[in-house]
Assembly symmetry: C2
Homo-oligomer: 291 residues x 2
């Protein structure tokens, strides 16, 4: 191996952390340095390699095509090293299990059940990232994700936990007995969208409805969005799972239902899973069968 041809390692790490986190400040926090150090290292790396790694138009930088390629190689390379290092030091067994789940599912389904897992596995620490963002599963990083979709994530393995179609709902206080025959009939109402997603925007665009700007679109975390819908603050689009009791009680009215097969899936990387992950996955599957 031609070691002299390897760019400065600190610069590679800084760039990889930036690509992983999405901003200079976050990358700096991840590495416990200032944003300025990250900025300079990325500049140094671009200069060293003679390759533009970032597209600096607009407020937030974007990875260039070259930057995407390099980031992928770096995250894989560093991930491989970290995983083996963790295995050898025994940190792997102790490292908290990293779980990503949508806020709604985390709040409504997962959190109420977690004491059961803790009672069974008190030695396993968990880190739950309630985020609608699709995070990358990688060695040494995120172990498992609970995502909403149709189960088709290339290169990953998925198991259906809870089947649940998408529904458009609103409080009976808001819509009353009004006739809602087509999506366009919803135009006069305020809308609620889960923070970090575009599901409402996409659904309306898909059904040819243009947003009425005077009525507004409010972004809220998933569980708060549902509560706002109950209070009649707007029309919400969400998984049926979370509003089933409200529909039965008549607090919320079902306006539309998207019949495409969708649900919450348990998503993992292929290959051997470390023991804490195996325990969590098998426990979660049993809970899903029970529910």
């Amino acid at each position: 191996m031609d070691w002299s041809a390897l760019p400065p390692l600190s610069a590679l790490r800084a760039f990889a952390a930036y690509a992983d986190c999405g901003s200079l400040a976050e990358a700096g926090r991840a590495l416990n340095v200032s944003h300025a150090a990250i900025s300079q290292q990325i500049r140094n790396l671009e200069s060293h390699m003679g390759v533009p790694l970032l597209d600096r138009h607009g407020r937030r930088m974007q990875l260039s095509a070259e930057g995407e390629r390099l980031a992928e190689a770096l995250l894989e390379g560093f991930g491989t090293m970290l995983q083996t290092s963790d295995e050898l030091t025994g940190r792997d067994a102790d490292r908290p299990l990293e779980i990503s789940a949508t806020p709604g599912f985390a709040a409504v389904w997962l959190m109420p059940r977690l004491p059961l897992f803790r009672a069974r596995h008190p030695e396993i620490s968990l880190t739950i990232d309630p985020s609608a963002a699709l995070r990358t599963l990688e060695p040494g990083g995120l172990d498992v994700a609970i995502r909403y979709g149709n189960g088709d994530w290339p290169g990953l393995e998925s198991t259906l936990l809870v089947s649940s179609p998408i529904v458009v709902v609103a409080a009976t206080d808001l819509v009353g007995d009004r006739e809602i025959a087509t999506p366009a009939d919803l135009r006069p109402f305020p809308w609620l969208q889960e923070h970090g997603t575009n599901e409402a925007t996409d659904w309306f665009a898909e059904h040819g409805v243009e947003q009425d700007r005077s009525r507004g679109m409010t972004g809220l975390p998933g569980n708060m969005m549902i509560e706002a819908a109950r209070q009649g603050q707007g029309v919400a689009i969400t998984a049926r799972l979370f509003v089933e009791p409200d529909l039965e009680a008549g607090r919320l009215r079902l306006l539309f239902e998207d019949s495409r097969k969708k649900g919450y899936f348990l998503v993992t990387r292929p290959g051997v899973a470390r023991p804490p992950l195996r325990h969590f996955v098998s426990w979660l599957r049993r809970e899903a069968v029970k529910a």
Copy 2:
């Protein structure tokens, strides 16, 4: 990714270079630092991880089992990074093609033919490492090896170039008309062994012959060993390919022939090869067919 859990990168690089080169001095040369820097970095890494990476018994250190695992991950991780970096900077296309070949084959077969390759591809630079050592093929490092054997190298692809059994020969000046019926009859003679290999030692051990220490074993580079055999300095074991003219001319006498299927193979890693390598491989195959 938990960046804080990654060990110091300089230490990882130093250890990887040591594992790649096999000695502190060589690793230091590869990184352009002193051997002492490598020694200290490896010590730092062991202390940081709390894991013994080296077995320090005897003069030359050996990788421990943990060391082997870490080295493998590091060489893969750094190799991935280097390859992508080289592709992005365009260095990949320009980087000299790294070829490892046994000295005998390099001298007798490859070198005489190289002007033909250069005439066809003047833009491609070559680095030929004439060494009997089995070097690892890896991204960013060694591109292709020409090895002697039976073609069975796990995880690698091989193509037979020249079929050639192993022969034991000696100058007629040395052995004359003496009856050589069994390997044991060779015991009184001095032996010649290709530097960096144990082929002669192994062959005699395999045939139950104990070395006569007063006669000595002389290690020489492959092509010089054959010349020494011609001059009657000792018994040599080598590929038949290199001594065919001498056998026909009667300068050397064939004492034994190992009939197992062996020869010189072109060995590459699976997957996409960069253009210079593709050109070299196809050229080499055509030359082998011609010969």
